[in-house]
Amino acid sequence: MIDYLREIISGTWSLFVGLGITIRYFFQPVVTVQYPHQTLPMTPRFRGHIELVKDEETGETKCIVCGMCQKACPSNCITVNGEKREGVKGKVLTEYTLDFTKCSLCGLCVESCPTAAITFSKDYNLAGVRKEAYIFDLKKRLEAKN
């Protein structure tokens, strides 16, 4: 009988302790941000989808069309094509397509590139209604930036 009453009292008390914590936290600063009106800074290492890097000297891509990234990718999302041009050493990039619908953001492509021609972008606002919106032409994106 005494145990029963004790349990009722301590049990009720435990509820008040919990309520007290809730009330205390109610008056503490808010920890969330009002996205999309407010955003948090991205960490430098954030791995978004990949992007071609601009060579500061020539203003062109650093890609030498070796195809290592294409081979390293586990999901076959990269298509690289290039052609021989007269007067230019090596190959010239004609196509660099990323099928982002299949990309797992693993970073194996970036690691495998011998010339550091690709990097991660910081894009994360990626919502769309059509699949085609996620087939990125990275060469065009780079040219658009120039």
């Binding site: 509820l15 302790v17 919990g18 920890v31 960490t43 586990p74």
Partner: protein, 372 residues
Amino acid sequence: MSAFAESEAKETFVLNLGPQHPATHGVLRVKLTMDGEYIAEAEPVLGYIHRMHEKMGENRTWAQFMPNTGRMDYLHALAYNHGYVSVVERAAGIEVPERAEYLRVITAELNRVSSHLLWFGAFILDLGGFSPLLYAFDDREHILDLLESVTGSRLTYCYFRFGGVYNDIDDNFVPGTRAFIKRLRERMPMYHNLVTKNIILMKRLQEVGPISAEMCRKYGATGPVCRGSGINFDVRKHEPYSIYPEFDFDVPVYEQCDSMARYMVRMDEIEQSLRIIEQALDKLPEGPVMAEKVPKILKPAKGDYYHAVETARGSFGVRVVSDGTNTPYRLKLRSPTFSNLSLFGEACQGMLLPDALALMGSLDLVIPEIDR
């Protein structure tokens, strides 16, 4: 109304729980044969998120399987990373630099804490309490930020590489982690006052959902499930791997066998993980984070290799068979929750439905890891 069915089931009906039910966390389906409010029979139905990870592994190079490991147990991805890289390193005879092993342990333990915090929130949510989830997510967010700044991703990490880790930590990581440990230690009493000592939680968990040690052995349950049944087994202690033997930590074991015991095991494990991280930060050596001379095209020697790691949910084992080529011949993944779920059918017989859901929550199921 008693907590257990008193007589044989006479008139039964079938109740379908899931595959889209908030309490089954994902796409688990349980076919329940009910006798009124009591469960007469429960049969988990799997396969709704089966992605053939094992076969995928056999169709790509050793390195290309790395991102898959983060997508099985997405809550403790780094332990899966760890299991896979360790087995391949064993097969290929790659030595890992000491600093890389420390970073692996630190990040994997942080990930374990975040996994337990998420489980804590989701479990209380199953029981009908909403706000603890928000407190847990507040803390978990700090871990995700720390891990994001090192690994580049927030959930499905792919940070470990054969021979080391992807990149070194930044300057903020060590002070940030220390500050987090301090913060979480200060918050733990709050969690216990808010949740553990709450009479409603105690009434719903104590002496509910008994899982005997014998049942754990029968079904091969590991992790907090077996430690809540009095079995002292933790891969980190009993088949030590990586640099775990260098750290001083305890394995929390509770004898009560009920849902509360499993709850307490995980809550205590958070503190133990913090201890490991703290010691590892103190001892963190300088040096490279990647072994030199890891061949670009890996071709491990012919043979059969196995390695187990302790994830937040139990023992995860990887077996690889190499035929000396650049793809695995066979890849077998032993996931802990598959075994932990298997005992659910037997454990919940005769239980009230809400109690069975509390039991299911205390198993900490992650469905993509069961189905693989």
